[in-house]
């Protein structure tokens, strides 16, 4: 049988406004339970929603970044269903007249580009959080639950894709690209572990051209778990099809610790949401000049930056991709590349040693004690042959330890490379005198002896000599 996987994603992003979507409570993550709530967050009688301008602006910005059309008129709907984390037992969302629709995002899969249609980007409010109390701490087997409404009402942008993704890997790359864009826009911190970026997936497998059955998978809270859940589901559906069995249309819950997606028990009525226009919120008829103002605020996005880094700085694609992947890294790079040092070398240092140190220390480039100027200086010292690359690595570590500039570290520690040929000649002569056997060995054709001599010169200079210069000079002396 020939199988084809089809995946569509539904992504929720918490927008990093100061206040909530429809009230003035703080939209900060966490806090003691229910301390960020007001009559609206608690669904008290008579409370009313009023829309946050910034949340709308962020929604528009995201929609524009994903090439969506902004609807000249959009409205909010009520989505009606009962759940204890819903203070009004309806969620204010958008339904058939959303903020925007018809966008696309191209993702780079290395060998090919996949263009993924964006069905829509719309705005809604987040729900509260249920904390399940009992031995397992999970919903199943809990004795009871506690309700915290701090999250209720935090603005969410919902992004729905067309079913254009063809593999779990494409889904992962899509989500990473989207996250990167959102972080560039500065409209969400996109922390999957804190739930500010959440992703549900629809996956179906067609066998021999027969249309597949859609299964929804929920509760993936990392890129890895999105990938694993989709691989699991892909395998499961494939083997069922191979056995000639049918796939049940259902919603499954990804259980990360056991690596399985289990069917969710649902109430039969759960799907009749009885959407109707929210009478408490008048329509949005967005002024095109406002939309244009927002468009102008969109920074250079990852794809454009990648292209520019390659053409402007001649960065190799892999280096450019790593740098562009995180806006902070990209900014750091550009500011560093402003120096006289070679951008390519700066880029290599950033994706190499610096990334390694950052990973090890578990900090971001912003938090690191190194400045873009310092990195430029370090690379320049290296390019001027003032220090060796081995020394450069040491200096870099020292920069991370002390926060001092590379040049001052080099001066303090007397690490300046000996490039004065006269001084070097003196040392080489000493070494050759002390090791006459090696000199003889080389002259009788033992190439090995040369390395021994160079090594001794380096030892004597405590590594401060320029190795290639030493090599040239020793060779010259030996053949004279």
């Amino acid at each position: 049988m020939r199988f084809e996987t089809t995946i569509g994603l539904e992504i929720h992003v918490e927008l990093s406004t100061a206040s909530k979507m429809f009230c003035g409570c703080s939209a900060l993550f966490g806090g003691e339970p229910n301390t960020h709530t007001c009559p609206g967050c608690l669904g008290h009688p008579g409370s009313l929603p009023v829309t946050n301008r910034q949340a709308v602006a962020y929604g528009i910005m995201l929609a524009l970044a994903l090439n969506c059309e902004i609807a000249p008129r959009s409205i909010f709907h009520r989505k009606n269903y009962f759940y204890p984390d819903m203070p009004k037992n309806y969620q204010i969302s958008q339904y058939d007249v959303p903020l925007s629709s018809g966008g696309s995002l191209e993702i780079d899969m290395g060998d090919y580009i996949r263009r993924v249609g964006i069905t829509r980007v719309h705005l809604e409010e987040d729900t509260g959080k249920s904390i399940h109390v009992g031995e397992s701490g999970r919903i199943h087997g809990a004795d009871f639950s506690l309700e915290d409404f701090n999250r209720a009402g935090i603005p969410l942008a919902e992004i729905v894709t067309e079913p254009h993704l063809k593999s779990p890997e494409e889904a992962r790359v899509f989500l990473q690209s989207l996250r990167s864009i959102i972080i560039y826009l500065g409209i969400s911190d996109c922390k999957m572990e804190e739930g500010s970026l959440r992703c549900d997936a629809n996956i179906s497998i067609s066998a021999d051209e027969r249309i597949g059955t859609k299964v929804e998978v929920k509760n993936m809270n990392s890129f890895k778990s999105l990938y694993r859940a989709l691989v699991f589901e892909e395998e499961r559906q494939r083997s069922l099809l191979q056995e000639g069995k049918t796939i049940v249309q259902e919603t499954r819950h990804w259980d990360e610790s056991n690596g399985v997606a289990i069917p969710m028990r649902t109430k039969e009525e759960a799907f009749d949401y009885r959407y109707f226009p929210e009478p408490d919120l008048v329509p949005l008829e967005l002024d095109p000049t406002w939309v244009e103002e927002i468009r102008k605020k969109i920074p250079e996005l990852p794809a454009a930056k990648l292209e520019r880094f390659q053409s402007q700085y001649s960065l190799p694609q892999d280096v450019a991709m790593v740098l562009v992947g995180e806006e902070e890294m990209a900014d750091f790079f550009e500011r560093s590349a402003d120096s006289k040092a070679s951008p390519v070398e700066i880029g290599k240092w950033m994706v190499g040693d610096i990334s390694a140190i950052l990973n090890e220390k578990g900090i971001s480039i912003k938090e690191a004690p190194i400045s873009p100027q310092m990195l430029g200086e370090l690379v320049l010292l290296l390019e001027e042959r003032t220090i060796s690359s081995k020394m450069a690595k040491e200096v870099l570590l020292e920069v991370f330890e002390t926060g001092k500039s590379p040049r001052s570290i080099v001066e303090e520690k007397n690490l300046l490379q000996i490039t004065d040929e006269k001084e070097l000649e003196k040392i080489i002569d000493e070494v050759m005198a002390e090791n006459s056997k090696a000199v003889d060995d080389f002259r009788s054709g033992k190439e090995q002896a040369l390395k021994f001599l160079i090594g001794n010169v380096m030892k004597k200079t405590r590594g401060k000599a320029n190795p290639s210069l030493v090599s040239d000079m020793v060779r010259r002396k030996l053949s004279s």
Binding site: P39, L42, G43, H44, P45, G46, S47, L48, P49, V50, T51, R78, N80, F82, P84, P87, K88, N89, Y90, S145, E147, F149, K267, D272, R274, Y275, F276, P279, D280, L281, V282
Partner: protein, 494 residues
């Protein structure tokens, strides 16, 4: 008449003046009305909760405020009653439901805040149909309110408590809410003035929502000028209500001249026909003559879509209500079942089964049905389209008429229990008032006489934000009819 009986029969504006000039103290006024309430309540049950201690505290707070910075508020010391669906901070707000029997709000509705800022003293919260679902105040969990003209009859509803309290001199004025006639119809049944303002003129923040696109808060009083004065207190833009209109509020009560000459008045054919009780229609027609006598041009107009108003209303109002009433689930506040439950779903089902009365359940069910899969287009969406046609009918009428008129209710106050068992008959009680809410326009009901000893209401409707015109014509008619002067002694004598 003794001091108390004289005092309680004064209008709100008279009381305000007497208090301001020092002829009466706010305490005296508060005490007199509380005394009247104590005397009348056993026969009326207009209030769900009374707050005498709070009222006296308010009076002293107000006086302290006055002494401290010489600030005097326009209506300082005048008592008021507020319908129990408006949120009052630290004071029980039950909405006439078991669901909220012990609910103590943490904030004041904007209207309540405005009333307090004006120095008006809240004496208590008035009875109402449960969550405003009803036209007789009989569906209140706390038992019905009686009509002060005949205590075997209903006061109308859902703001029946406010209407009865004003009519029986328990308070000079009150605040109600009107979704399909809930201010005007009880005003009509109780022989007082009640006004539903333009949708968006008065903030809904803190008004327990029944049908959000129809609900509007409004004043109730024994005369048009008091009614206008209270409208001036509560109207105005509120940033906490996203449907609130930004508009300058005229000093309504000071601008009434009673000028009717040349005003073009349309009699709505669809609301003044055979479905109106003979006695009511007779008084209505006599009032039309009177209007003409005052110089108005009266002619009949037809708004053909109004034929569907009742159906459209029952669909839209119940749909919105089904969603608005979903929040009463026993999780964050309010009643929760004492029965053992397996899980949260069973807790919801038992809490809501025990906490809501029959009429509320009936409307939730109807609303859920018309919104549910497979019925939305046939009912909800269709109703919204006909709502457009109704609004358009009104718009065309304003091209020919300055105002429209009709009886407020097809009948006078009916007997307690008479229509409770038949929802359809009950819904008919609002047939003349409903179109106004659907169109979002202002309308007032003023008493125009007695039919078999029971008051009859005359409804005047105006274009959006036409409050002043509506009030002015009402004011002129009131002077010509002289209703209160003729009847003051008839209502619930001591």
């Amino acid at each position: 008449m003794d001091f108390k009986n004289k005092l309680i029969r004064k209008s709100a504006l008279e009381l305000a003046k007497l208090i301001a000039t020092g002829e009466l103290s706010a305490e005296e006024v508060t005490s007199a009305f509380l005394e009247r309430i104590e005397e009348a309540e056993p026969r009326l049950h207009a209030f769900i909760n009374l707050f005498p201690d709070f009222a006296f505290e308010e009076v002293s707070r107000m006086e302290a405020r006055f002494q401290k910075d010489g600030e005097n508020t326009p209506f300082a010391g005048v008592p008021v009653a507020v319908k129990d669906d408006l949120s009052t901070k630290e004071l029980l707000t039950t909405c006439g439901s078991k669901m909220l029997e012990n609910f103590v709000p943490v904030y004041d509705a904007t209207v309540v805040k405005k009333v307090k800022d004006a120095g008006v003293v809240l004496l208590g919260k008035t009875n109402m149909d449960e969550f405003a679902a009803g036209s007789s105040t009989e569906t209140s969990y706390f038992g019905p309110t009686m009509n002060p003209w005949d205590t075997s009859r209903v006061p109308g509803g859902s703001s029946g408590g406010s209407a009865a309290a004003v009519a029986s001199y328990e308070v000079p004025w009150a605040i109600g809410s009107d979704t399909g006639g809930s201010i005007r119809q009880p005003a009509s049944f109780c022989g007082i003035v009640g006004m539903k303002p333009t949708y968006g003129l008065v903030s809904r923040y803190g008004l327990t929502a029944f049908a959000s696109s129809l609900d509007q808060v409004g004043p109730m009083a024994r005369n048009v000028k008091d009614c206008a004065a209270m409208l001036g207190v509560i109207a105005g833009h509120d940033s906490l209500d996203g449907t609130s209109i930004q508009v300058e509020i005229p000093g309504y009560s000071g601008m009434l001249g009673g000028n009717v000459k040349g005003v073009k008045v349309g009699v709505v054919k669809e609301l003044a026909g055979e479905s109106i009780e003979a006695g009511v229609l007779d008084l209505f027609n006599r009032s039309l003559d009177l209007l003409e006598g005052l110089g108005a041009c009266v002619e009949e107009v037809s708004l053909p879509s109004l034929k569907y108003a009742l159906s459209v209303y029952s669909i839209i109002a119940s749909a919105e209500a089904s969603s608005n009433l979903a929040r009463y689930d026993g999780v964050r506040y309010g009643f929760r079942t004492d029965e053992p439950v397996e899980d949260v779903w069973e807790m919801y089902a038992k809490t809501r089964a025990e906490g809501f009365g029959m009429e509320v359940k009936r409307r939730i069910m109807l609303g859920t049905y018309v919104l549910s899969a497979g019925h939305y287009d046939q009912y909800y969406s269709k109703a919204q389209m006909i709502r457009t046609l109704i609004a358009e009918d009104f718009s065309s009428a304003w091209e020919k008429c300055d105002l429209l008129v009709s009886p407020t209710s097809p009948t006078t106050a009916f007997q307690l229990g008479e229509k409770l068992v038949d929802p359809l008959k009950m819904y008919m009680a609002d047939m003349c008032t409903i179109p106004v809410n659907l169109a979002g326009i202002p309308a007032i009901s003023i008493p125009c006489g007695l039919s078999d000893g029971l008051p009859v209401g005359f409804q005047i409707m105006g274009p959006p934000l036409g409050e002043l015109k509506v009030l002015d014509v009402a004011y002129a008619m009131e002077g010509a009819i002289g209703f209160e002067e003729k009847t003051a002694e008839k209502v619930l004598p001591s």
